[in-house]
Amino acid sequence: MRQSGKVIDGQRLTWAAMVAPTVVLLILVNIIPLFSAVNSAFHNSTLLNTGEFVGVQNFSEALADPAFWSAVRFTVIFVASGVFGGWIVGFALALTLRSTLFGKSAFRLLLLLPWVVPIVVSARSWNFLTASQSSLIPQLFTHLGWGDGLLLADPTTAAITVCVYKIWCTFPFMMVMAASALEAVDESVYEASVLDGAGRWQQLVWVVLPLVARPTYISWLLMGIFCVNDFPTIYLLTGGGPVGATTTVVVYAYQQMFQNLQLGQGVAIALIMTVVVALVAVVFYRQIRRAHV
């Protein structure tokens, strides 16, 4: 007994030694900066100094700022586009790729490119295609008689362009998630539904979708978090403009912190965003647990 106790203690020590570096790194890189950031949010902080204590002033000023609510509105639109728009396209492609197509493997690989290509490259490419009068898209619009095609010059079309770009970036991830979920559906289920007289659409809606509900909700949750935290997509394509039309909460927080040098308020905005995302994630997680095969 003493020998096995010694072995168990030794294993625990080894386990602790293995985990310790990760825990130390987590504390150094995440926990300490998080506490420092939360502290900044309650002070009149600058880049160098914590500044004087201001209580919840940074939070109340942020919540009273129309620009903040404008950023919230666009964030909701942006996330909805990225999640549901990306899912619809990705799921449709995953279904299509289940059929026997010539060159399916190559096609599947090409469809991953928007996700694989670095965001800096793809954002600059989209900017190159849309930004000026001599860009390809405006030239095409002009030739087709659809106006000047300056998609990034107008707040509405810039917002639409950003959302379409986000769908472009997210659909490969959704396609992969959907494909793996669809692989888990037994063929016998399809056969049984056909025997019961279900058509294609009924099969999809009443059989397949419920079976892939859990991985679908997981992919929505993950993509939702990615979209909320997505800074480079917007900053590299439009910078949050024109006139703040494509500014999301994370871009707004960045602008407050590093352009307006209002560090405390920027962190307060980021914390508000974090709390909201966490609450939404909890609600969603409960929904995921309820979804069953």
């Binding site: 030694a17 930004a131 000026s132 001599s134 024109p242 602008q255 590093f258």
Partner: protein
């Protein structure tokens, strides 16, 4: 057959040994090695100082600057700093006590850090420059460097915004170079008839479109701030200036695409002839091939509707930091460097102009008519961003490149709000950044 070292199963001890080695390796690497750019010296007792320098020109500038700095008789470490997130770079370094002894930077950077107590006074440095006869700065340059009664930096270059035009395009349009706002309007109309935009701007994130807007505001004898550095945007003269710009926009003289343009977009448009005139920095001609450089000319400063002349100027400066190992060594280095840096203009490596009269008299500057025109005609009427404040101040760091000015400039190109509405928005945006006194 017995197991060799390579085939026996991985034991717990081996894993722990491997993890220990993996953890120590980066620590050992960090302790070794020398900085990449350090001048050598036999004076071992002198502590090396560090000089951080922004990218003021092409790659050749950085190479030349590094070579120059490290050629100093005492050890100096050179570090080139990219403009992206530059303020965070400096702030992190200063906070962690790894900051430079001296640096170039943004126009109001020295003031921002001086307010937080990390900038060393340049009073002694400037006094020594005066004693040596090296303080031959253009009028007003030194005065702009004062904060709370002390010099916080020494000026080294000026970025004056002037109005450039394409001679061939104006000839094709049958227009004359503008001399005032009315003729600017007329010239824009003539350029539009030949398919060019009259007034080029770039209003995307991190661009300089607001320079052109503030230049026009200053041209009308006003500014965005009071003498105390408080936002004061909604004035009759400013409304007049913005109405003028809105008129240019609504008349189609400003490309709507400019709202998301980068600086490169508008420069390319000017080179291609898509844009006929642009307010830009002194290096505008460098964007053109050698055989078309002479087509790019600069007007005289425009006369505003009330007879005022004015434009925007950015004054580049070098600041010293209190955490330098030796302020005296830093001052010795800068006394030498402020003279040697003439090579940047001799070799055409920087996009701006020097602030010293002796440098402006160099043949390389004198032989460029654009540089001479800017130095002699535009600089005397140029005002800093913080005008009507007599000097730069810390909060200008947030104004320069901040959201308020960017949104304001984009709003002018969009032309959906009236002038008073845009200026009110700007006022509110600036009040968020600049606490009321």
């Amino acid at each position: 057959m017995s197991e060799s070292t390579f085939t026996k199963p991985l034991s717990r001890r081996i894993m722990l040994q491997g993890a220990g080695i993996a953890a120590l390796t980066p620590l050992l690497a960090a302790c070794s090695g020398q900085p990449s750019s350090v001048s050598t010296s036999t004076l071992g007792s002198i502590k090396p100082i560090t000089y951080w320098d922004m990218s003021w020109g092409p790659a050749e500038y950085t190479k030349r600057a590094e070579a120059l700095v490290t050629s100093f008789k005492n050890p100096v470490r050179y570090q080139s700093i990219p403009w992206a997130n530059y303020l965070e770079t400096f702030a992190s370094a200063i906070t962690s006590k790894t900051g430079p002894s001296a640096s170039t930077g943004a126009g109001a950077q020295a003031f921002y850090f001086a307010e937080q107590g990390v900038i060393a006074s340049a009073d002694n440095l400037i006094a020594q420059m005066k004693k040596n006869g090296d303080a031959d700065f253009l009028p007003g340059m030194l005065e702009n460097m004062k904060f709370q009664g002390h010099y916080v930096a020494v000026p080294w270059m000026m970025d004056v915004r002037a109005l450039y035009y394409r001679k061939s395009l104006l000839e094709k349009a049958g227009a004359e170079p503008p001399t005032d706002w009315d003729s600017l309007r007329t010239t824009c109309a003539a350029l539009k008839k030949i398919g060019s935009y009259g007034f080029g701007m770039a209003c995307g994130t991190g661009t300089h479109g607001w320079h052109a807007v503030v230049a026009i505001i200053v041209n009308n004898g006003e500014g965005l701030f009071t003498k105390d550095g408080q936002p004061h945007c909604v004035t009759d003269r400013n409304v007049e200036a913005v109405e003028f710009l809105l008129e240019l926009s609504k008349s189609g003289y400003i490309d709507k695409a400019a709202v998301s343009y980068t600086n490169d977009n508008v420069n390319a448009d000017f080179v291609s002839g898509h844009v006929g005139m642009v307010i830009n920095q002194p290096s505008m001609r460098s964007y053109f091939p050698a055989d078309t450089k002479d087509d790019v000319l600069v007007t005289d400063p425009l006369v505003g509707p009330h007879g005022d002349k004015g434009t925007l100027i950015g004054i580049g400066n070098i600041m010293m930091y209190k955490e330098s190992p030796s302020i005296e060594s830093t001052e010795q280095f800068l006394l030498w460097y402020m003279n040697e840096m003439r090579v940047f203009w001799q070799k055409g490596l920087v996009a701006t102009l020097p602030v010293r009269k002796s440098f402006l008299d160099m043949p390389e500057i004198k032989s460029d008519p654009t540089s001479v025109a800017i130095a002699n005609k535009w600089q005397p009427v140029a005002r800093i961003l913080g005008y009507k404040s007599p000097a730069l101040f810390p909060q200008l760091n947030a104004v320069d490149g901040g959201v308020a000015l960017q949104t304001f400039t984009q709003g002018i190109v969009q032309a959906k709000l009236d002038a008073k509405g845009l200026l009110t928005q700007l006022q509110q945006g600036l009040e968020k950044i600049i606490p009321a006194k």
